[in-house]
């Protein structure tokens, strides 16, 4: 049946892409996009929209695609999202908009993400100007962090006429989009930079190399620099380690370090000065998106790569598409194994990782079956590099330098879900800094909600 299957999307073949950093997914052509759009039933009560954190009017934009009105489609999306080319690529669509698509009940859901990506790419290639803003009102708002939450909050406020400045700690805007997610999933110059430029085109100023809490404090922004409200979108960038013996050996890196060297500092490219070490045989510890990205990056740098994860494949927290791509590319999955020690040679360099085998026991609080150690089952995987990808938590730099700004035990800022209001008057927060490591689209949704709340706050 035609309507049950989605139009397949072209991808670079695994045996070719495993040795380059070009994008894996090649996206739909015009005719493929139109054919896929024709599958949408244009539901009266579209469940897909309820699952999109920024409420893109999905049936409407898809209808325009069906009619080959791509510019109109782009305008519909632009009303709700400032980063469609990013979300079309990295949103976990299967658990967001596509999850409840009616077609998904009997066949494949509409490929909403791939269509969104198509429209965003088309609009970029055709230089469509989507910047529409209200007249400037002269009121200053500061945004901390140029990740997805900060960019979308800033973009929305600029559209409402506010004078917005983003302060970013790194030398480049984009947050995880530039330092974490690799080029082969999200091209930096073509896609991310372009979407950052779109936000700038709305009049948003971006000051890089400013660390709030060090270069200037949040209080100084409000009391000396005249910002009437502040949005904190500082992410969750602090890497966790396992605290097992040998973890400070030479050749043990956090996924953040490894990915930052490769993506932000472009270590993989000729002519860039920052070095990276992938080794010959790498163990990546963890099973999330970050682990997949680190693994597939190490593979492309020429290493044999093992993913070491303590549960089974069904529990891998990474997106299904990434796991599938990783397997296709030849990443080896050592599942139900937990590292207990990192072994080093006499000079202190990694020579192996000692793991213990696990089996799945009773479900835990999260509903996933809890892994338990099988006594006496230790074994060693010979590797020369270990990349720890165990998750991240929010950086305490801002909370520790801003009196009165409350955070919880995990270091996450406390903010109201619908408005982003924090314990300080005029200070709002959202994204990973509030939720802990989550997703691009949730961070953008939080940025949008906060923009609306800031507007209401300042109008009072």
């Amino acid at each position: 049946m035609e309507t049950k299957k989605r139009v397949p999307v072209k991808e670079q073949a695994p045996e070719i892409r495993r040795s380059n950093f070009d994008e894996v997914c090649l996206g739909y052509s015009e005719s493929e996009a139109v054919a896929e759009a024709e599958r949408c039933l244009h539901c009266k009560k579209p469940l897909c929209v309820t699952q999109c954190p920024v409420s893109i009017n999905i049936p409407e934009f898809i209808e325009h695609v069906k009619n080959r009105e791509f510019e109109e489609a782009a305008r519909v999306i632009a009303k709700s999202s400032s980063l469609p080319a990013v979300c079309g690529r990295v949103c976990p669509q299967e658990s967001q908009c596509e999850e409840l698509c009616v077609l998904g009940k009997k066949g494949d859901a509409v490929a909403i993400g791939k269509l969104e990506r198509f429209v965003a790419d088309w609009s970029r290639e055709n230089n469509i100007d989507l910047s529409q803003t209200l007249p400037k009102n002269g009121r200053k708002v500061a945004v901390i962090g140029a990740g997805p939450s900060g960019l979308s909050c800033a973009g929305d406020l600029a559209k409402l006429g506010y004078d917005v400045t983003i302060f970013e700690a790194l030398h480049k805007a984009g947050g995880v989009l530039v330092y974490g997610i690799p080029e082969f999933r999200l091209p930096k110059d073509k896609v991310v930079q372009h979407e950052v430029d779109n936000v700038k085109a709305l009049g948003v100023k971006i000051e890089t190399n400013v660390i709030i809490g060090r270069t200037v404090t949040l209080e100084e922004l409000m009391h000396q620099e005249g910002f009437e409200a502040v949005f904190i979108g500082s992410g969750a960038g602090l890497p966790m380690f396992m605290n097992i013996p040998g973890e400070n050996s030479n050749g043990v890196f956090s996924a953040n370090e490894f990915l930052t060297r490769n993506n932000l500092m472009k270590a993989f490219k000729e002519g860039y000065d920052t070095p990276i070490r992938a080794g010959k045989k790498v163990a990546v510890v963890g099973g999330g998106n970050v682990a997949m990205d680190a693994a597939r990056t190490a593979l492309r740098l020429g290493a044999e790569v093992h993913i070491v994860y303590r549960r089974s494949q069904a529990e891998l927290p990474a997106r299904a598409e990434e796991v599938h791509h990783a397997i296709e590319e030849g990443i080896i999955f050592d599942l139900l194994c937990n590292p207990v020690e990192i072994l080093a040679d006499e000079k202190g360099w990694v020579k192996g990782i000692k793991c213990i085998r696990m089996e799945l026991g009773e479900p835990d609080a999260s509903g996933r079956r809890r892994p338990v150690e099988i006594p006496g089952s230790e074994f060693v995987i010979d590797v020369d590099t270990v990349i720890m990808s165990l998750g991240t938590s929010p950086n305490p730099l801002i909370s520790s330098t801003t009196p009165g700004l409350e955070s919880n035990k995990k270091g996450c800022l406390i903010a109201a879900e619908e408005t982003g209001r924090t314990s300080l008057d005029g200070v709002f927060a959202g994204g990973d800094a509030v939720t802990g490591a989550a997703t691009v689209i949730l961070a953008m949704g939080a940025g949008k909600k906060a923009a609306r709340a800031i507007d209401e706050y300042l109008k009072k």
């Binding site: 700690a169 790194l170 030398h171 330092y179 890089t208 190399n209 400013v210 660390i211 060090r214 270069t215 200037v216 960038g237 602090l238 890497p239 380690f241 605290n243 973890e247 400070n248 030479n250 050749g251 890196f253 956090s254 953040n256 370090e257 930052t260 060297r261 500092m265 472009k266 002519g271 860039y272 000065d273 920052t274 070095p275 990276i276 070490r277 000079k347 202190g348 950086n395 730099l397």
Partner: protein, 299 residues
């Protein structure tokens, strides 16, 4: 873009630059550092803040050419720009939070090795401006390599110089000089602050441990972001893993695992070396051929 307002050669392969960075200058304190990046393709290079002028909006850095990036940096001229200059990073020196009267009761000795004289300077100067005269030992290879002697003299109580070859001041290592001061001249110190190559700081802490003198060291592991994001700068301090960029760079020297820190700082050496050789082969007369690896005194 951050303009280089002044540049001076202080000693062979050691350069001073005043860089226009008003936001950094405004918030800078002794003990903190910055990260500089030359251009689009450059590395992020951490350097200690050696001075700052809050009215002029400038920050002074002093660096030694040890590898590719520092060599490239040494070719920048007055009027050129760094593409990025971020800071101040890390925690300020502990003493700026202390009660001044209590601090005045303390005898403080600074020990600087090589280019370490530069980061010691703002600390001694800060104390001097708060009415406290600290002593300092500055050690270097030979007279030619002595940094900031005039400036240091103005702000120290006693300034002692040690050179490896005896061309100026005491002949020998800073550790020997400190030992002589304590044992032969009966000097008493409550706190020692040591800044320089890791190996020097390690031996100073071993010495001061014998005398039971509290010792602060300034650690310089390989860094990327300088904000706690990569974990590359992690050290073991008293059985705990700490990030030098946010928890430090200054730590209690008696708790630092120096052997691990020195080993970790070689992690990218071969990579850089190899990349360097490839580059030199491609471009003859390339900028990085100025004695790569020879001046690796700081680390």
């Amino acid at each position: 873009m951050y303009k280089i307002k002044a540049k001076r050669l202080l000693a062979p392969s050691i350069y001073l630059m005043d860089v226009e960075a008003p936001r950094v200058a405004k918030s800078a304190n002794p003990g903190q550092f910055v990260i500089v990046k030359m251009d689009e393709k450059g590395e992020r290079i951490p350097l200690t803040i050696c001075d700052y002028d809050k009215t002029a909006g400038t920050v002074t850095i002093v660096f030694q050419t040890v590898g590719c990036s520092t060599n490239k940096m040494s070719l920048l001229k007055e009027g050129d720009y760094f593409s990025d200059f971020v800071g101040p990073l890390g925690q300020p020196s502990e003493f700026i939070e202390e009660d001044i009267e209590a601090l005045k009761q303390k005898k403080i000795m600074f020990v600087a090795g090589g280019v370490g004289a530069a980061p010691v300077y703002p600390q001694v100067k800060w104390l001097y401006e708060h009415g406290i005269a600290a002593d300092a030992i500055v050690g270097c290879k030979s007279e030619d390599y002595l940094l900031l002697e005039k400036e240091m003299k103005l702000v120290t109580g006693n300034l002692y110089i040690a050179t490896d070859d005896g061309s100026y001041g005491y002949k020998g290592l800073v550790t020997d000089l400190l030992k002589d001061l304590i044992e032969k001249e009966g000097k008493k110190y409550d706190v020692v602050v040591a800044i320089g190559p890791m190996i020097m700081m390690k031996f100073i802490t071993q010495l001061t441990k014998q005398y039971g003198i509290k010792t602060i060291v300034s650690m310089n592991p390989v860094m990327v972001d300088g904000t706690g994001m990569c974990g590359g700068c992690r050290l073991t301090v008293g059985e705990e893993t700490r990030f030098a960029c946010v928890d430090g760079p200054e730590f209690d020297g008696h708790l630092v695992d120096f052997d691990e820190a020195m080993r970790r700082s070689t992690q990218y050496k071969s990579q850089e070396g190899r990349a360097e050789i490839e580059r030199q082969e491609k471009v003859t007369g390339h900028v990085c051929n100025l004695g790569l690896g020879e001046n690796n005194e700081w680390n």
